[in-house]
Amino acid sequence: MDNLKQIDSILKKAAADVPANAMADASDWNAIEQRLKYRKNRIIGMWFFLALSIFTAVSYTITRQKDYSDTLQNSNSSQKVTSIHGNDPLKEQIETSEKLIDINREKEDISTGKKDDVESKIETGKKINKKPEYKPVKLNILDDQKSTFTSLQRVKMCQLYAHKKIKIKPELIFYQNNLKVSKQTHSKNHKNWEYGIAFTPAITHKYLKENKALSGLINRNFKQFIESKEDAAYTTSLGLDLVYHFNSKLFFSSGVYSTQRSEQINYNYTITEFPIVTNGKITDYAPLNPLAYENITFTGSNLYHFIEIPLNIGYRQSISTNFEIRTQFGLSLMSLTKREGKKGNFLNLKLDDLTNLTFNNQNIATSIKTGLYYNKPRLVIGLEPNYAVNLNALNDKKTNAILSRPYSYGINIITNVKLNKK
């Protein structure tokens, strides 16, 4: 058995000598780096989304509370108005109705079968039930008094009459009031703010153009090795959306977004020659010593992060009670905050880190979007396909022979809260 323990030392020795074909290589590091980048983006995205959610929830709660306190204030003010003019008409009517009901009951007991004509503003139902405690009662209240009633008062009245076991029909009393109020609100409150979260999954790519001033420096293999190996990539954009409605049709839209533009890279080539530059132009290519050949293998996504502030003008058209179509168009200010990844150099084809290249930090883009919105009194949910393109080249013209203008197309998903209930 002790002999077998020698196996341990054989194992230890073998473990120390790693087989040559089992070495870690650059592709392992690239894979780890990609995962670390993704994690970082995910963490930023999560915090951003969390902050926006909290902001929206708090704002929504505050707005709701404001509405509720307005209602209470209206209720109090209406009571004050009536007290200035004298007695509270509602209270008077309730008291009078109680007296009348008692009188009517007495009369019914005597079986006169005759209904008294009461000069007060309350009259009993025409039909006298066999169960007198459930008599329907209609309240005659003047229109100007009706308009001051709030939902809270209605509930109180219903409770009061329920206690007296008398049926009332609130809808008969208040329907006129409701119509009045809704008409007034509708005619005045077209101006309105909306705010909320917008999320846009999109495909981004770019338009490439040669910079005429430096076009002589573009390597003859650039298109084959580099340009053709760069493809569209998936990105997302997330932000705070802000909309102001001027009237029932026109609106202005803005906000702050964290936007990405990306390109999928799949380089796999060998540099076997170097360009000879004379007077700012490639005049010839010299072959490299085979020992100096350089294999370039890089797969991944180049990411450009922007803070975007859109300034759009839009038009909306209602298509049913709850749905409308909105179309908007405008400009976006896009500030380049960060770039990650690597890019093949247009001159020598070697890999450059994006952080070492020069870019325009302030950019302008234009966008158009149109889509369907689900419109509720407090909430708006929209789905709109959009297209955005940079108006200026992202690269610095002084140092880049290839100029790229990123563009994206995707679906904008919007969930907005209305500041005023409509």
Binding site: D8, I10, K12, A14, A15, A24, A31
Partner: protein
């Protein structure tokens, strides 16, 4: 040349170049660990990437009480064992081989000059339950108590698996020789 303390400090600040340096410094050593715990090279590469990702995301918890490579090795082993635990149903079951059984009876051990690749291949051909205990005890230096705790088995089981593992490995090496 940057010191190890400085390298770790920069890794804790998520410095990408420092992370790359740490990767390059210990990649082959960790790859050796990965190969021992995986069936093939592809799995070993996956484990290497998972392990380094875990190292970089939890390096803040490294207090400096041990050497960084020891701490990293422990992380790699934990991930490997967790992976095996999650994929328990996919384990290749040990196939009974009569020649194998006869060979194991002999306690004659091959000499230490045997090629490392052959030894590692033989180790990888063992059933996982023996392979893991051999790895943990003979190479990574864990005690039976620690192995039992790590694998959720008794110390007795750990000892018997080690003994059985040694015999099987010895038989394999003899056949390959």
């Amino acid at each position: 040349m940057i010191s190890e303390e400085e390298l770790i400090r920069r890794c804790k600040e998520h410095d990408r170049s420092a992370q790359k340096m740490l990767f390059e410094k210990y990649a082959n050593k960790m790859m050796a660990v990965c190969i021992r715990y995986c069936k093939n090279q592809e799995d070993a590469k996956d484990l290497l990437q998972d392990g380094y990702y875990k190292v970089f995301t939890s390096i803040k918890s490294f207090k400096g009480n041990s050497k960084i490579d020891t701490w990293m090795t422990r992380i790699f082993i934990n991930i490997a064992l967790n992976k095996q635990r999650l994929g328990r149903n996919k384990y290749n079951h040990y196939e009974f081989d009569t020649n194998f059984e006869k060979a194991e009876m002999s306690e004659e051990v091959p000499n230490e000059e045997i090629d490392a690749k052959i030894v590692i291949n033989a180790l990888n051909e063992l059933p996982d339950i023996y392979k893991v205990v051999l790895n943990l005890y003979a190479i990574d230096g864990l005690s039976h108590k620690d192995i039992a705790k790590q694998l959720g088995i008794s110390e007795g089981s750990s000892k018997s698996r080690l003994s059985r593992g040694r015999s099987l490995l010895n038989a394999k090496l003899k056949r390959k020789k």
